[in-house]
Symmetry: C2
Subunit: 95 residues, 2 copies
Amino acid sequence: MIKVTAKFFVNQNKIDQFIQLSKELIENTRKENGCIKYELFEDTTKNTVFSIIEEWENTQALDAHFNSKHFTEIIPQLELTVTQKIEVNIYKQII
Amino acid sequence: MIKVTAKFFVNQNKIDQFIQLSKELIENTRKENGCIKYELFEDTTKNTVFSIIEEWENTQALDAHFNSKHFTEIIPQLELTVTQKIEVNIYKQII
């Protein structure tokens, strides 16, 4: 299982747009092969900080995701709503 | 459900110590009431970056965790193994 976190620092004035775009990305992504979990979280103390936390069966499924139509179309739009670079970490579980 | 991510930037020379301490913290934490998930992940491209990704039933369980003996004893030791402040985010799921 591959775990991915993507952390977004969203412009205070673009939160609704960010959530709308994320919703579209999530709905499409959850239909993909090998997608175990793909969920959006909001920080409970900093309302401009969000994370998409994902689980994928394997790297092939994750690579296919990165090349999917919805991902390649929506991510550039999401990048217009943030105040700094999206922080992506791709993890493997060790304990 | 409360989701927590704690991201660690570990000193290259203290990775084994970090993992050993994390193991002890995780074993004790998984016994706690309301602990759904408490897992350690290593970044697949940056071997000094780790995250503990957690799920808790509610804030009471998480608060009890923050005050537990093992947490209060082990976290200060973990802080000696990192090169910058531990990045903690407490999240609620929105999609």
